[in-house]
Amino acid sequence: MMSRARADSLSGALLVLPAIGFLLVFFLAPNLLLVGYSVIARMEAGVMQYGLTFDNYVRAFSVDLYWLVLVRTVRMGLMAALVSAAIAYPLAIAIAQGGLFGRVVTLVVVTPLLVNVVIRSYAWSQLLSRQGALNWALTNLGIAENPPQLLYTEWAVLIASVHVFLPFIVLPLAAAIGAIAPEIGQAARMAGANRVRVFLRVILPLSVPGLAVGLSLVFSLTAAAYVTPQILGGNFSPLIGTLIHQQVLALNDWPFGAALASLLIVLVLSINLVFLRGAERLTRRWTAGAGN
């Protein structure tokens, strides 16, 4: 028994070795390089000064603009995550129920992934621009005389981010909801719960693990996005991705760009940790290693 178990864990370790190697080379190493870049030099009056320094971080924390952009980025990520979650639930429930309708919904949710993000973002910019389809409809239907500017606002970025990243929350949610035995919902209905209460008391709590994964994915992808905020947000209210891009490519200030990128990674990681730990806390009592 003992040696069998040890052999199993040994072969298990061997099996994950390639994955660990891959992560070391393609994930950990670049991130270490990134953090390294942020502390080995600073730009002073257009000239790069080399030597160990924390000036880039001091600059990021002391200039209001950078803070503002970081906060705006986190806020955008959280809003996109929450709005997507609200839209994702009905879709995920339909997918989990299966049947022809469920398959059609899956297709509708997944196929946009086949279209490049750049193209989808430009499509949104056409829809949302001053002379775009949305404003045309609003004016001609007499809903708004002088429709508001949507393009190059945070709203445009939010709308497009939700659209682009929606599949990343629908799919884990559908998996979590699909894993709930149908009899559990039926038992709730037999006990007197209508649709709303079945959702609130049974489906919602039991889907928390999938919800946490989905929220975390949409939040991370939105906060780290560059294309969508660039095309739809313009330069008036940039997110951190745009700012990093400017520092690195326009101003050639790699160390400061690296510092901003490192801050973004730390922020996104810690917020993800909060999501996932929170979900684990909520569900520990009923999911932890069954049968003891």
């Binding site: 038992a187 209905r189 037999m190 006990a191 209508n194 709590p205 569900t283 069954a290």
Partner: protein
């Protein structure tokens, strides 16, 4: 809980349900009296669960009506039908502890907090699990989980209890204990109960009446005893207990109830059998004889109308009784079962012997 009124009167009228081309239920009608425990018994796929879920409102019938105390249910959503249900996989809410599971139906009824607690605790008492109220479902054994599910279903005092193979996942000893416990509780609470099972012993142990189903149709409805002693066709006689079957060509129908009718098997053996309504069934007749009514002897019994000679091919010791299989020259196998000491001494496998039975134990039934 004793002050509650008796369970409801439940009527199922011509309920039909089709999946694609297959008829899962074909115009099924039956009436269940208040406080009665009825078992739906039949082989896998015969439509038992479908019928139960139609009663519950979890499936809509294509045609037909379900009446509770005379009120049509079909357009009423499940959550307003006020029924309780037990599932084979227990279906407890995994994220709620035992007492919250039991309280769920009471909370849905928006009762005052104190009453919810009081009634949930009482329901948990009834299934002897008061000591487990703070546990999570995954910390309970299968039997305990089903008890919690039972407490959850009776806590809000439904008028009808629906059981879909509730004990099928339990091991045999526990299952037998819980069959009696479940029946006692249903009777005590005077619940109108529909039990779905494919286990004939369970149906006989628990039910007041048994509805035998086959391929979406009701084959026979009656007490366990009536269905066992007077099966109406070959399917029922074979599904409930076991029977020896003999193809039967009767000489005449007398029309008198319970008349004895002489006839022959295709092999030429003479048979004397009784017909319940005095007539031979139109779709072809069969004679069914229960193994416990077949006696064995070494020589031809003098006074017995029904006797066939053959060789013993098997003698099996089954504990409470022995089972012997006799094969006639015509190739007919006859199974006899009797207490071990009722078997003629000295009979062994390979010996020639006579199997015989009384005319009153040879039932003429429909061959379908």
């Amino acid at each position: 809980m004793k002050t509650r009124s008796a369970g409801a009167h439940l009527a199922i009228e011509a309920v039909t349900k089709t999946y694609g081309k297959a008829k899962a239920l074909d115009a099924v009608s039956l009436v269940i009296e208040p406080g009665e425990l009825l078992a739906l018994l039949g082989p896998s796929g015969c439509g038992k669960t479908t019928l139960l879920k139609i009663i519950a409102g979890l499936i809509d019938p294509d045609e037909g009506e379900v009446l509770v105390d005379g009120l049509g249910m079909v357009r009423l959503p499940t959550h307003r039908r006020d029924m309780g249900m037990l599932f084979q996989n227990y279906a407890l809410f995994p994220h709620l502890d035992v007492i919250s599971n039991v309280a769920f139906g009471l909370e849905m009824r928006r009762l005052p907090r104190a009453e919810i607690e009081e009634r949930a605790r009482r329901a948990l008492d009834r299934v002897q699990l008061s000591a487990y109220s703070g546990r999570m479902p995954r910390e309970l054994s299968g039997g305990q989980q089903q008890r919690v599910a039972l407490a959850r279903a009776i806590a809000y005092e439904p008028k009808i209890l629906l059981l879909d193979e509730p004990l099928a996942a339990l091991d045999k000893n526990l299952r037998e204990g819980m069959q009696m416990e479940l029946r006692a509780l249903c009777k005590q609470l005077e619940l109108t109960t529909v039990l779905v099972t494919h286990d004939q012993e369970e149906a006989m142990t628990m039910a007041d009446r048994i509805a035998v189903m086959r391929a979406g149709r009701l084959e026979q409805l009656g007490s366990a005893r009536a269905v066992y002693e007077r099966p109406e066709n070959r399917f029922v006689a074979g599904f409930i207990g076991t029977s020896n079957f003999f193809p039967f060509a009767g000489e005449r129908s007398t029309g008198a109830l319970g008349a004895t009718i002489p006839g022959r098997t295709p092999g030429g053996d003479a048979l004397l059998a009784i017909a319940r309504d005095g007539t031979l069934p139109e779709g072809g007749a069969m004679v069914a004889v229960r193994p416990e009514h077949v006696a064995l002897s070494v020589s031809r019994p003098a006074a017995e109308a029904n006797a066939m000679v053959g060789r013993l091919t098997q003698i099996l010791f089954r504990g409470a009784h022995m089972t012997a299989v006799l094969r006639t020259d015509g190739g007919q196998e006859i199974v006899a079962s009797a207490p071990a000491d009722a078997l003629p001494p000295g009979l062994a496998e390979g010996d020639a012997a006579w199997a015989h039975w009384k005319a009153e134990h040879a039932l003429i039934i429909e061959d379908k």
